[in-house]
């Protein structure tokens, strides 16, 4: 497993490395440099850092202007505010105007458990995914986050990235694998059922796969790190080859990963599909693990759901 590291930390470390030789990389913060773990960047590269204060609409507009002038801005701000409060700036100034802005939504999902719905970010995928031209990515662990950050620097165009707050367990053994924006990773192959997860729920899906194997079930696990552009091919293949799919996400069941998968499945190869996520209610207060347990976003529940779908 290695040491647990928060993905926000990895983004800062990687940008610190890359900024040395790429003076166009810029980091912006909205009184959020601590939450984004960007303190060291602000310290080491003051000329490549911009503080805008508590102003999430402004941070996106300013970034679009910087990008228009050849900079490579990385906007770091809490996912809840960055994705929803600034959504019009994202739609018009970033996506529609095709500016090269990387939006890093920090403390996403229900990272801010007991702070309530204002701070939960479980609609962000639904909203950002609906914007033409905007890529939407959820890296799973430190290795993937590092690869993703490197890819983002070389990617032309608007991207929304969502990461959580806490240190996460590894799902990859090393960063030595092929990360391609828009290309899903099959983490485990299997033939009875497919689990599709993204971001920090990939770990839960992998744990469920182990339990299912013990129960004699051959389970495929797909890491759909890019929600948009979606790897439709991987989904259709899984539907065809395994006949059943469960999606697992730290997002509302409306409009997120599960919905995106469902859109593909129902149009191309209809099979039984279950969506695990946050139901249509303000999420209960608590720590991430407590909230996940409450809504059945756990390896044990996924195992039971899979067995149920398999008629066992």
């Amino acid at each position: 497993m290695g040491n647990k590291i928060a993905n926000r930390q990895v983004i800062c470390d990687t940008l610190l490395e890359l900024a040395q030789s790429d003076r166009d990389i810029m980091v912006l913060a909205s009184d959020s440099r601590g939450s984004a773990a960007m303190g060291p960047f602000a310290q080491d590269y003051p000329e490549q850092f911009v503080e805008v204060g508590i102003a999430e609409q402004n941070i996106v507009g300013i970034s679009a202007g910087l990008a228009h002038s050849g900079k490579k801005p990385f906007v770091t701000s809490p996912a809840c505010f960055l994705s929803m409060r600034s959504i019009e700036q994202i739609k018009v100034d970033v996506a529609y105007s095709a500016t090269n802005v990387k939006l890093i939504g920090i403390s996403g999902g229900i990272s801010y458990g007991a702070l309530g719905m204002s701070h939960h970010s479980v609609q962000d995928l639904a909203v950002t995914r609906a914007i033409p031209g905007l890529a939407v990515i959820l890296p799973a662990d430190r290795h993937e986050t590092k690869r993703m950050t490197e890819a983002l620097v070389n990617y032309e165009g608007g991207v929304y990235v969502r990461i959580g707050r806490n240190p996460v367990e590894d799902v990859y053994e090393s960063a030595d694998y092929d990360f391609v924006i828009g290309k899903a990773v099959t983490m485990r192959d299997g033939s009875d059922i497919t689990l599709i997860a993204a971001g920090e729920t990939v770990r839960i899906a992998l744990d469920a796969e182990v339990k299912l194997k013990e129960a004699g079930v051959s389970c495929r696990v797909i890491n759909m790190h890019t929600i948009k552009p979606l790897d439709e091919e991987a989904i259709i293949k899984a539907a065809r080859e395994t006949g059943r799919i469960i999606t697992v996400e730290e997002h509302s069941v409306h409009g997120g990963l599960g919905a995106a998968v469902a859109e593909v499945v129902v149009q191309h190869h209809p099979v039984p599909l279950r969506l695990l996520g946050i139901p249509d209610e303000p999420a209960i207060a608590g720590k991430t693990k407590e909230v996940f347990e409450h809504y059945g976003i756990s390896a044990e529940n996924i195992k039971n759901l899979a067995l149920d779908m398999l008629g066992q």
Binding site: A29, D31, S32, R33, G34, S35, E51, V52, G53, I54, A55, Q57, N58, C80, F81, R85, Y112, A114, L115, G116, M117, S118, H119, I284, A285, G286, K287, E290
Partner: protein, 281 residues
């Protein structure tokens, strides 16, 4: 309540909220301590309220636009009897309704806040309704100074003056700090008073940790017919704990066992002083 009793109450509320935050291992300590005197003045003296009827139509309204500093509010609402005091122990715990921001499932809370820059617009709406209905209740809205960077604050400021809401009182907890450091480093605000005045508000600057000034100003507000009032309450972040005052990381620092013990010792000495003074009078 008399001034000396209000001072004692504020010290008590500070002790309560520190214990609550320490127990929950979560909370926004600094901003809640800086605004404890403002809320004490409002809830024990200035506002027209009835804890037995939290939805009483003619009550004055309070909106915590800086919703993260809810701890002082939870302690005050419990102490005033809006809900049982024991419930404070559930603060931030699994399934609680006493979450880390105002939650209107709890009696005494008008609106859910927590995303900064929402409160003043809501307050403008309430003050406008009070006027249109001829009810005459007042609306008090507490904002952070860091929060002033949100453009929505200024949209609401414009509307408040446009509709001549002289039943609306904005209060800025001017403690000079936000998360990343001082407000002047993060996003300069000064001259804050001139900005609000230019937007058509009647602006008053006071010491926001001085109970006499708070009570005098809040009781008299709004003071100018046809204008909303903006009180710049100059405060100290983490006010009341000598070693935490003006230290940025106390924004959401949870006191250790030793820090709590020391803070409670300081505050109980202050409280005892006020109690003695109160008896002498």
């Amino acid at each position: 309540m008399e001034i000396i009793e209000l001072k004692a109450k504020a010290a008590q509320i500070r002790m309560d909220l520190l214990q609550m935050i320490h127990g929950a291992k979560a909370g926004h300590t600094g901003g809640s301590l800086s605004n404890a005197d403002i809320l004490t003045a409002l809830y024990y003296r200035v506002m027209n309220l009835d804890p037995a009827r939290p939805k009483w139509e003619d009550r004055d309204r309070f909106i915590a636009s800086k919703g993260h500093a809810v701890e002082s509010l939870w302690c005050i609402l419990a102490d005033r009897g809006f809900f049982p005091k024991e419930e404070l122990e559930t603060f931030s715990q699994f399934g609680t309704r006493l979450i880390g921001h105002p939650n209107n499932k709890v009696p005494g809370i008008e609106m859910n806040t927590g995303a900064l820059g929402h409160g003043l617009a809501i307050s403008v709406g309430m003050a406008l309704a009070s006027k249109r209905d001829g009810r005459g209740y007042r609306v008090f809205c507490l904002m952070g100074d860091g929060e002033q960077a949100e453009g929505s604050v200024w949209e609401a400021a414009m509307a408040g003056a446009h509709y001549k809401l002289d039943n609306l009182v904005g209060i800025i907890d001017r403690n000079g700090l936000q998360i990343s450091g001082s407000t002047e480093e993060v996003m300069g605000l000064d001259p804050l008073d001139e900005k609000w005045a230019a937007f058509g508000w009647h602006v008053i600057s006071i010491d926001g940790n001085d109970m006499e000034q708070l009570v005098d100003t809040l009781e008299a507000a709004p003071t100018v017919p046809g204008k909303p009032t903006l009180i710049i309450a100059n405060t100290v972040k983490a006010k009341g704990i000598s070693f935490a005052e003006n230290v940025p990381h106390w924004h959401h620092h949870v006191p250790s066992d030793e820090e709590l013990a020391q803070a409670l010792a300081e505050l109980s000495a202050v409280l005892a002083g006020y109690q003695q003074e109160g008896q002498v009078r």
